[in-house]
Symmetry: C2
Subunit: 426 residues, 2 copies
């Protein structure tokens, strides 16, 4: 299975990963005298900032995912490959695929992202799954919904309490958003549907090792977010590291908390791009790149997004968020164009536009640096911004309708337990 | 895990299966002096008539499925159980669950449906999956989309041709609708997205053992449906039974057809309700019921829908379609009410409202008996009827928008390959 060879005279760009960074790079290379091969092991681009809404039955999978080749259908110079990369032969300038094929490149862009990380405790993953892919989201959705179903049939008080305890480890934006939405699911959406349990009594516990929730936001926004979560009934536990995850629950600060549903939102580990190149990486596996986003010693290899660590103008690491990856993708596209025009590319400068997080269905916090917003007005900006950044009118309309129903009727359309019958409930 | 016991003084109705028949029965028992337990091994009611649209990436799973307990949230006397039934202890009037629990009943309604059947060739199932559940649909969707992805990377002509050959076995409504939609996917939706293959060249082959497509419709509608399918590029093969299904393709009439994507739409087998009762069944495993829809020898057990065979007023078997199951559910509810009021229930009389099938996105056939419709007008009636029978404004709106996009832009929103990365492509 050899992919069609691009025109040999054209500069060949291979982009690995069609997340925010890789896709933006492909988009911004429009008009450049290059042929592009975009490789991803998924067939879809995923709008990760709303993935937690799939996990909590608020949105359908197809509302936040698009076939990659559809997004590039109008670009005849772009070939989309549904394939898994497992190495780079930098000497011969080839990307290695796990089926034995190889893709020759003139310029390589590694935008391979990150997975969740367990700080050396990979054995926790089966008990505390994370949230990075659509399958992760539908798996979490199944676990959350099945816990309520099992609780409905459980007569032992202690086991029922464990089934109705949901623990989220890590209080960054994903953890906060998951905690708030699960609390609302239990308080607003589910109560009329159950006969034997009072879903209001479900406990949602958010455990954070650091001193506050939303550490990337200003102090007062963190405090507001915590108060808002507590207003929704979420128990926020700060300054406590989780020391054990098992089928029974978690241990933190020497205490054991019985829970059948743990969710990991505490850390990420970069994809193995650094290993492919034998290049130096930080503790989270993130490639250390130069100021022009190339890999040291490999001027023809760029790396962007969650798979790299790069400093902003103040020397702080650029955050692992979609706008940062997109800025880097745009920068690499400009650099490739500049080089082909015989110019020297400029170094990358990150501009932080702001941080946003939703807390339940009517509140959000937004930290624009100079301007800080919270509450309902922040929620409207959050909602409009997210709908704006979705791709295509159809998905914008669809997500807007889904949110309207959640707000007006507390009805979440995607409460589907798939991947198995009731046997999964045991 | 014992479910809460219903009030002992109330007449206890247990309904097994929340398809069209079981759900309708629960709805129609509203106001009756009964407590109801509705058991299903899925957490959702499925609108099966549109399941082929999920399999062909036209609709999202959540557009045609609803949490069962949500549909009955306003009925405090109804308890929904997410559990799997594996037997009936008719002597002690208890339904047996596979986790060891038992549900006592005064009246039992078996509405357990059917699965696809391979006429004694169950070994064909891995190669030619059928379409009954949401997972069946997302599995088929994955296989269809992956076949195009693999073809895009395949250089061997013969293997590429096999990847671009889609075989549907059985030309009833599901087979016809699948064939038409896959043909349109290949002709209208996918062409601009691929670089190495011309998806117009995909072959869609519909094989039917009987003498015509849509055998349940009038002759001229069958002929029209066949012409319309052929107009979409579907190859219709009649009077040929499939004698082998394998990873390489099918054999029919002594001929071998290379294909990597087979879909089974040729027959169903009833759920094991007859086995649970040791009652007599036809060759397809369907329970033979009396004219009042009770099981012979078990006046307190009703059976309805695809799990039974019952004759219409002309002596022909009632078809396995949603309206028939709903009529039976309604009849059982009326019978239970009549008995509780000391009356003798009437026998069931099936009234056939009509048969509908869509052929591609702008044509349909409708057989109302006296009135027969085809073409665009029939499509509009088909579309409006299906949107009308969906549950809730939200899903109606959502499906209408999805269809609008398919019609106006040939864009199918749910082209997602899930349950695995590119490794599934090999």
């Amino acid at each position: 299975m050899t992919p069609a060879a691009p025109q040999p005279t054209t500069h060949r760009v291979v982009i690995v990963g069609a997340g925010f960074g890789g896709l933006e790079c492909a988009h911004r290379l429009k008009g450049a005298p290059v042929s592009i091969t975009l490789v991803d092991r998924r067939n879809h681009h995923l709008f990760q900032p709303l993935l937690y809404q799939v996990a909590t039955a608020s949105l359908a999978t197809s509302e936040i995912a698009w076939p990659i080749r559809y997004l590039l259908r109008d670009r005849p110079e772009v070939t989309t490959l549904f394939a898994t990369v497992n190495g780079v032969d930098a000497q011969n300038k080839r990307v290695l695929l796990d089926d034995g094929d190889a893709l020759p490149y003139d310029t390589l862009v590694l935008a391979t992202g990150a997975r969740h990380a367990y700080f050396g405790h990979d054995e926790w993953e089966p008990f505390a799954p994370g949230l990075k892919t659509l399958e992760d989201a539908t798996t979490l959705r199944r676990r959350i919904l099945v816990a309520f179903e099992r609780a409905e049939r459980e007569t032992d008080e202690e086991r029922r309490a464990a089934l109705l305890t949901f623990v989220i480890v890590g209080a960054g934006p994903t953890g906060v958003e998951l905690a708030g939405t699960i609390a609302e699911l239990a308080r607003d959406t589910l109560p009329p549907d159950f006969r034997n349990i009072d879903t209001h009594k479900a406990r949602v516990v958010l455990i954070e090792a650091g001193p506050r929730v939303l550490a990337g936001f200003a102090d007062d926004l963190s405090a507001y977010a915590q108060r808002s979560l507590e207003g929704l009934g979420v128990e926020v536990i700060l300054g406590q590291a989780v020391t054990e995850c098992s089928a029974d629950g978690v241990v933190y600060g020497g205490q054991r908390l019985q829970s059948r549903t743990l969710i990991w939102a505490a850390g990420v580990r970069a994809s193995p791009a650094a290993e492919w190149l034998g290049a130096s990486a930080d503790r989270a596996g993130r490639l250390q790149v130069l100021s022009d986003l190339t890999v040291p010693g490999h001027p023809d290899i760029f790396a962007i997004g969650d798979t790299v660590v790069v400093a902003d103008p103040e020397g702080k690491p650029v955050p692992g968020i979609a706008p940062a990856a997109k800025q880097q993708g745009r920068h690499v596209a400009a650099s490739v164009k500049a080089r082909l025009a015989g110019q020297v590319p400029a170094p990358f400068h990150y501009r932080h536009a702001g941080s946003l997080a939703q807390i339940g269905k009517r509140k959000a916090v937004i930290d624009f640096g100079a301007i800080k917003l919270r509450g309902t007005i922040a929620w409207w900006i959050w909602g409009i911004a997210h709908i704006y950044f979705l791709i295509g009118l159809r998905n914008r309309l669809s997500v807007a309708i889904s949110w309207l129903w959640i707000h007006a009727r507390d009805q979440r359309a995607a409460r589907l337990i798939t991947q198995g019958s009731s046997k999964v409930a045991r």
